[in-house]
Subunit: 464 residues, 2 copies
């Protein structure tokens, strides 16, 4: 059995060009680039060359770009520095609801420190509306953050429009370009940009932080003289050389790979709903990353499905609650209002063979069916098909975890007549996301939820 | 001409064992260790094994140690987390005056945020006095920091005694073990420890932060779920594997190399003062790192001397002001009260050949003499030898930079009789360090300084 790694949005294997660059610069780039002796001068030359290459790929001046130790660190330091640089303007931060957790953690820290935060919502495809984003900007807005494309569903954000609105309002826009930078520079008149090298086949340990000239920026916390005072600690030159080389390499292949991978993800988008009953493909079908596709399978436990797929040789990830250590569903899927249960994200590495995708499409239906059987899920489409007569049914799913409350709902809906209601009692917080999302997917009416002493009662009316 | 890198205290070349470990784990350790699929599980296994090995070398439990992205980051986050964890006790921080700049930058940030800081001074050898350190601890002391050994002069600090005093006072002690961890675990009952892998032949991009069980610790700023919430950002597994492997490798060689390198640095300590006139070897002659020796050459410009040595094939560093971007002399030499001009730090890598050290001892006298000639420095010992008759001489060195004010002083001292004074007018702030230190070295009396509209007037009385 072959194995296929389909989770490049988490981390990409090292690009061969990155490996070569790393090997070479391990020999030449280990010394302190601030030293004046030959080993230091060599290290400095490597660092400068890497910065030139990275800046060219980003589309900025070399002196606007510093290397950080991760994409997360670039976001932490970029957001903190930009907020502090404009503290006199105000302490208001605008972010989208579907940003990477590093942005949301920074926003939470900013609120703990007395700042204010506005989260701009997204549509069911995961995109912000540029006008709604612009409306969130105020006189006291110090900074706005928007990802170039979403890491869980692949939807591209209207960065250029939002950047124009921010420019008009005099607010700097920070773009988290982690997921898209491999495919091309970020369009529009942004002010700050961050990225993470291990997403494009560079090594771990390298982020980019770009601050355009003229943007007020005040690095926070203790600082040193490294990287223009914007990224503390000894420079990791072999890694930044490899990161820049990998970015250049993937860019050289980008046009061809983009078309090829888009066709492969299009196959998945089109065929999964036909192959697997009760599936919702999520994310924007057109304005999206070429290599990423996400879908949610009703009545499926994400962790068990991932295990099934892993056993069949496929490594994918999931935004389902049961696959995270916090037992909460992905904030992205929640903000989009889509089903979070049985969620599967497929993100194809450069060079993925079409045959691997075909094999995935062969394996997936059986894997989903097997999980559904174990959980006692309803037969495909069987639920509403049954001729129910009851006017109101109450289902007690207290103590049961995702996806059981939705499975109970799906089984009960067939027992009520059209116009009748099913009330699901559940203390699983995922139900608050998944029951409304199930209704939307199935064309049933979500009436609402009422808090109870233990959990809540979710009421659904049968429409068809 | 051979070339010799004698600045391992800045950064060590990659250890062959680290290179091997890095190569292997680049293939196996690039995936996200929090993922459940095979690539994630492999990455997790490598990360766990690296942590076990690192903890064993440190002498702590694996769950007490997290990997950070640099030694600097370990210090920033370790100090901030420990201070916040004991905020209820108070906001007083104790550090030595000769800590790494990352500690002093953290202390400065703590002061800016409203905390208080006590800097414990050192003797002329660069060591803190354990009793003086203990006296600085108060009821409101949240944290104390002490390096295991100094990075510029090699002096080992009385860590075990200070740790005992801290324990008695109920104050956690953070030990910066960056310079010594290669040679062995840190003795004593410390509470937190930091280290930096590129100092022992590991790759850049890896620090250790150890927090003993029971120590109150509250990570600051935005956090994520990586590394127990104590080190944010995607784990750099190939690098941490290589770092742990390199530490294990240098420890295996430590006993033999320690004796061998100590003998080589002993040669430098003993022979430089005999080979080069007007030199002061600094740092403790006995309680010191085996591979590091530092001396200051009077009447020499550090940057020019480093260039001469670089041309002769030797890479060394300097704490002289003219070799730093800030044009201030090393805070370590300043705190010790020793001459900072013409400062040379030699730190020998593992495996340094005795022949290289011999060649350095051959080259050094000519290099120093050449710099002195260019600067018009007094002949060796000539200064006081001349029979002066004047009662008081004033030398105008305004506008001149280190080492010129001291050169002018040395030339003038021969023109006054014993008991007479030389007044040096200087606006170079280094003079405030180097003129008193010159007096101490030469056995002359430093009377004091008086501020002037421009710079200051430094008064020296001739004793002999």
């Amino acid at each position: 059995m072959g194995v296929a790694y389909f989770d490049v949005a988490s981390s990409a294997p090292l690009h061969p060009v990155a490996r070569q660059a790393l090997q070479a610069s391990l020999e030449e780039g280990w010394a302190d680039p601030s030293r004046l002796y030959r080993e230091g001068r060599r290290a400095r030359m490597l660092l400068d060359a890497a910065r030139e290459a990275a800046a060219e790929a980003v589309g900025c001046r070399p002196d606007e770009l510093v290397f950080t130790t991760s994409g997360t660190r670039a976001l932490y330091d970029g957001i903190a520095g930009a907020l502090a640089g404009r503290r006199r303007v105000g302490r208001h931060l605008v972010v989208s609801a579907v940003e990477h957790s590093a942005v949301l953690h920074s926003a939470a820290a900013h609120e703990r420190a007395g700042g204010t935060v506005t989260e701009v919502g997204v549509d069911r495809a995961g995109a912000v509306d540029a006008a709604a984003y612009a409306a969130a900007l105020g006189d006291d807005t110090a900074l706005a953050c928007l990802q170039s494309a979403n890491h869980e569903v692949g939807t591209r954000q209207p960065v250029a429009e939002v950047a124009a609105a921010c420019r008009a309002a005099g607010v700097p826009l920070l773009v988290d370009a982690a997921q898209s930078l491999a495919w091309g520079p970020v369009e529009g008149d942004w002010s700050l940009l961050t990225a993470s090298a291990h997403k494009w086949g560079g090594p771990a340990g390298v982020g980019f932080l770009v601050v355009r000239k003229g943007v007020r920026f005040a690095p926070q916390g203790p600082v040193d003289e490294r990287e223009s005072g914007r990224s503390a600690g000894f420079e990791n030159i072999p890694a930044v050389v490899a990161a820049a080389a990998a970015l250049r390499a993937v860019r050289a292949e980008a046009a061809g790979e983009e078309a090829r991978l888009r066709e492969l993800t299009e196959r998945i988008r089109a065929r999964v709903p036909a192959l697997v009953p009760d599936v919702e493909v999520v994310g924007d079908p057109a304005r999206r990353l070429p290599h990423l596709v996400t879908f949610s399978c009703l009545y499926v436990d994400g962790e068990t499905l991932l295990h099934e797929l892993d056993r069949a040789g496929f490594s994918v990830s999931s935004g389902s609650s049961c696959t995270s250590s916090t037992l909460t569903p992905s904030h992205v899927l929640k903000a989009m209002g889509v089903v979070s249960e049985g969620n599967v994200r497929v993100s194809l590495p450069w060079g993925t063979d079409a045959a691997e995708v075909e094999r995935f499409l062969q394996v997936l239906p059986g894997a989903v069916a097997s999980v559904r059987r174990k959980l006692g899920a309803p037969e495909a489409g069987a639920a509403e098909g049954a001729g129910g007569t009851a006017g109101a049914v109450t289902v007690d799913a207290l103590g049961e975890r995702c996806p059981q409350p939705v499975i109970e709902l799906a089984k009960a809906i067939g027992r009520v007549r059209v116009g009748g209601t099913v009330t699901v009692l559940s203390d699983d917080e995922v139900a608050a996301v998944d029951i409304p999302a199930w209704c939307w997917t199935r064309g049933q009416e979500y009436v609402g939820a009422e808090e109870r002493e233990r959990g809540a009662a979710y009421v659904v009316r049968r429409r068809a």
